[in-house]
Symmetry: C4
Subunit: 252 residues, 4 copies
């Protein structure tokens, strides 16, 4: 009988003990900001995959990898370790397809966090503002009042009315559900249009998260991707303007 | 493992015993009428929070409070006590997102009511009529025939064909599901357009509920809010009329 | 804890034993044909209510009765008894709101049928044809090949390609799920436009069902209602034709 | 109490033992390609029905067969046996109506596969390309890297970016969920427009599957059906072109 949610730790992880690691969640969401940051950090830090999560609350399909092998959609845990810091990354293909599933999956993620002795969680996301943002700010939320000064000192903005609608999905629920478990949690949201994948917003979040984690991550590749994306967007806008001018010249 | 519905009583409530208290439900709904009334009474009477309810049937998100702290969406219980009257208020951010959840949550509310020895329940709501109402009536429904004379004497209207579609959600189900538990329940519905938050309708419900509860609640602030809202609406209507006249003058 | 589905037999029914009764299902559906027939028979035969069914799979609301008392939406069982015939009617406000609920509720109805020793089930419904039907035929389906001759002899039509899409909801599932319980089941579907409540179609079904049950039910009131409805429709069509002619005379 | 999913083996199957049979899944899907192939093979090979699967995750309705007998929608298993090959076909009316049901049903299909000792599974489907395809290729996916050479050798194409969106539903999940059970699984997808039932695409899949299974299936009838369908489509296109020409001649 299939489990509603199953967590499978890889063999290479069996005998490891962690000392108060940090968990960083970057699942798909607005502007893919959280996913971009977490997957970039995994790549740059060379974090190792330690677990897979499957669930009937994910969409019912498989993804075909480059070698032609199909695999279930899933979430994954990656572990990065340096002398002074252990980080567990939570990334993946999807969040839940149902409301109830969001609660049940997040509760499972926190079971894992509790088991690993996680002392703090950072959840990452985008905050959609409906227009292009040149210098995206990073908005914050915490699950305990005392966390705020440290986070603000790192450059995170706490706006009274933003985000007005709260935080939807895993990035939000991990804050809400971790409070009763006495795990500190912080959400970092990069401003983004909400229409496009946004590496520029991700770079803003990465910069602040690196500071907070006291971990160095070279942002060059992410910045390059952002610059390239901006060239593409400018090209699209320019093309539209030219077409518009042409149409006007017909009329005139 | 997360519970589908969890009820957490606060410490300050641990040793209290209630004597046949009244329960007043005012969750979000049409015109936010019930919510306005219940939250206004909590505010004016200085009722104390005694419990929180969380559930996987609520939307999967958190609300960020003014201090930047995220909290799960929730329902809450507040307790007011005077010499002659104890009132338990049920208020909150949301009702269920699913049909089944409506039944399961209401059943939980009634478990609480039974445990507290609640003798009567008032559920509050709006009755949408599709147009602005200057002097909103308060329509009623009961879960036992014998309750009606007392409620009618307080000024509540029982119309044969209203509300034709019945009462949707918690305000309705609490009547339906409490009957078999032998708890009396009354629904009070203020007439409202259904398009806007309606403090005028809430004031009508408040007036009657105060009488029924034999509790004095100064309506000044709620009336002021209603008056202010009406000025805003009149401004909008006037603005539209002027624009319309201007357009006609162009044509003429 | 609320049950997903609860069946409550009334006291007046406690000590009754039935001898191979017939069950007749007439829940809401296309043209309300089944509901009209079953409720008309209950009314004309003076059948007595014997049970109520409530469920979290029904819509989450209450219905307000004429005396102002709210009651849960529900299904009901009524019993008719004559010297030679016992009939259990299954009627109600709604069918399930979810796909899974349809299966679970129907399984519950068949548990009741099995417990009562029901030997045969008639499910009633409308068959939507998309246009007004002057002399509606009654189409049939059975859950065992051997039942067909008797049903055809009563005037029921078995068309090879109708209904092509099968039978949706309780009227269909009761046939499908009763087969493995060795209970005979027959579905009678009156042709109907599908756009309006259709007492004419109901009268056709009633006529055949009376024959099959060998029970006399005076159709006068149902025919009167059908005639009245047809006058209303003719009036609407005539009105539209006149408006159309007027518009043409303007043009001409 | 009804089971969420029930599997009923027919009596004629009771005492059979299979030796590492192959399972072929052909449930409804894009272009009905998988269904066409599997049902055609069952027909041509004279495979015998051995089991039925019913579930509350299927749509809540019955299908009326030619003799007027209604039956639950269902999935079915058929068995073909020759000297050197045993094949279990999984076919049926529907896939799941819910996301969770897709996972639960597929898990059940794999329970059956495990119980029967199935050594390899072929799942069949269409790959929608959005336009008519004259010579449809057969795209593939596997659940283990080592399977690919054999499948490619049979003419199946493994494209790096196709299908980009992965494989939705049972055909995909059977690959994903069988990996952890150590059952080999291969998905074969015939290119198809995605707009019409596509026997031509099915013929392409059949040709390759016959090779892979080392079973001869005369494709004549399927090819005839494809040719007939193409004549109908050509007629439609021709008719539209003529109408277009006529309209132009009016203008000219």
């Amino acid at each position: 009988m299939i489990e509603d949610i199953s967590v499978t730790f890889l063999d290479n992880y069996k005998d490891r003990t962690l000392v108060s690691p940090i968990m960083v969640e970057g699942l798909p969401g607005i502007g893919q900001v959280g996913k971009l940051v977490a997957e970039y950090m995994i790549h740059m830090l060379g974090a190792k995959k330690v677990a897979e999560i499957h669930s009937i609350y994910f969409p019912p399909h498989v993804i075909i990898e480059e070698n032609g092998v199909a695999r279930l959609v899933r979430n994954e845990l990656y572990l990065f370790e340096s002398d002074h810091r252990q980080i567990v990354f939570l990334v993946g293909d999807y969040q839940s397809t149902s409301n109830e599933g969001h609660y049940l999956l997040t509760d499972c993620y926190l079971d894992i966090a509790a088991e690993l002795g996680v002392g703090r969680i950072y959840t990452l996301g985008g905050f959609g503002v409906g227009h292009l943002v040149e210098t995206p700010r990073v908005l914050g939320a915490v699950n305990r009042d005392g966390l705020r000064p440290e986070i603000e000192a790192a450059g995170v903005v706490f706006e009274r009315d933003e985000p007005g609608g709260g935080i939807v999905g895993t990035a939000g629920l991990m804050l809400g559900l971790s409070a009763s478990r006495n795990i500190d949690a912080v959400c970092l949201m990069g401003e983004t249009s909400g229409y496009l994948v946004d590496p520029r917003s991700a770079a803003s979040v990465l910069s602040i998260l690196s500071t907070l984690l006291n971990v160095t991550v070279d942002p060059t590749q992410l910045n390059a991707r952002a610059a390239e994306m901006e060239r593409v967007i400018e090209g699209l806008i320019e093309g539209e303007r030219m077409q518009h001018d042409e149409e006007l010249s017909y009329i005139g």
